[in-house]
Symmetry: C3
Subunit: 134 residues, 3 copies
C-alpha cells in the first residue's frame, strides 16, 4: 500500500507535523502490523522524528541547523545557491522508517513525524508513504 502526500510550504525553513496524516492513511488502509517508510521526494526537504509539544523546539531546531549550515557561503559552487538545503536534508535524512503495531504507530509520548522544508516556500512538495506488512 502506498500514498503520496502533497503540501505547500510558506517559508524557507519549516517543520510540518505530518503524524496525523500518516495515522489517517493507516486507518484508510486498515494498517495492522509492520512498518511505514515516509520518504521525501526532494533533495532540499527531508523527514525527521522529533518533539511535538513545545513549538519552540522547531524554532530552535531550524535556527541551529542554519548556524551549522549557513545559507550564504563564499565557497559554494552550486549555481542554485541552495547548498545549505542539501546539507540539512542529508543531515536529518530524506526518509524515516516507523514501526506499526496493532494498528498504531509506535512512537514515544513526545515524538512526532515532521516534513522539513529547507528551500521554501514551495508548491506541491511530495512525500511518499509505503506500508510493509509483517
Amino acid at each position: 500500500m502506498e500514498k503520496t502526500l502533497q503540501m505547500n510550504t510558506n517559508s524557507r525553513d519549516q517543520m510540518i507535523d505530518i503524524t496525523k496524516q500518516i495515522e489517517e492513511w493507516m486507518q484508510e488502509i486498515n494498517a495492522n502490523n509492520g512498518m511505514i517508510i515516509v520518504s521525501s521526494l526532494h533533495t532540499t526537504a527531508g523527514i525527521t522524528v522529533n518533539e511535538n509539544a513545545d513549538p519552540d523546539v522547531k524554532t530552535d531546531f531550524l535556527r541551529r541547523l542554519d548556524e551549522v549550515y549557513p545559507w550564504d557561503h563564499q565557497l559554494d559552487r552550486h549555481a542554485e545557491g541552495n547548498t545549505a538545503a542539501h546539507m540539512k536534508t542529508s543531515t536529518v535524512g530524506h526518509a524515516q522508517t516507523l514501526i506499526v503495531s496493532n494498528g498504531k504507530l509506535v512512537l514515544g509520548t513526545w515524538q512526532g513525524v515532521y516534513f522539513c522544508e529547507f528551500d521554501g516556500p514551495r508548491q506541491n512538495r511530495k512525500i511518499q508513504l509505503k506500508m510493509i506488512s509483517s
Copy 2:
C-alpha cells in the same frame, strides 16, 4: 515480532552498545531473514551504527557533536534547555534499519549498534525492536 529494551543511562551524553541485546533477541525469536528496525522512543536520544572497537571513538564522537551543537546557546527558546539534545537526535537519527541474513545481523567487522543518550542521566529509556521477515 517486537520487543522493548529498557535501560538507564548515567551521564548527559553516552553511547551504549546494544548489538548483543539485539542478537540475543534474534535468537529468542529464531530470526532468519529480513530486517530489524531499532527505534528510540525519545526525542533526546537516538540510534546510530558506528565503531565498536576503540572506545576513544565514542569519546571523540560525543565531544565533536557537542561542539557542533553546544548545550548552552543564548538564542535557544525551548524552556527545557535541551535543544542541543534534540539536534543530536535528529542528526544521528531516532532509528536505524539493520539487515538480517541467515539468522545474523549483516554488519561490517567494526560496526556496532548504539543507543545514544543526549540528555541523561535517565531512568527507563526505551528502545523498540521490530523484526520484519522477508
Copy 3:
C-alpha cells in the same frame, strides 16, 4: 534477496552515485513492490540520497561537511586519526531505505543514491543491498 556491491574509492572524501547499480540488480531479481535497504558495511563511509544533477552539489557537500567536522582536531583521542570520518558517517547515515513500486525505485526527479567515502582512498568497500517484498 540480497547482494553485495564492491567498489574502490580514489580520494579521502568522495560521493559515488550507485543508483544505476541498484536498478540493475532490481531487474536481475525481478523486484516488484516493497523496499530496499542500502547499507554501508563500514564505519567511515555512509549512504545518502541527494541531488544527481549538478556535480557541484557533491563538491559543496563534501567541503561543507569537512568544515563542520574538520579532519584534524587537537582534542581527538582516536589513534587512527579518522574521527571526522566517523562523524560524517553517522550524520548522513550508514544506511538508507528506498521504496520500490511496480519494479521501480520511488525517487524524486533529482534524487540519486550515493555511497559516501569519508576515509579513502580504499579498495574493496562493501555495500549490502536487501530487498524486502510487500
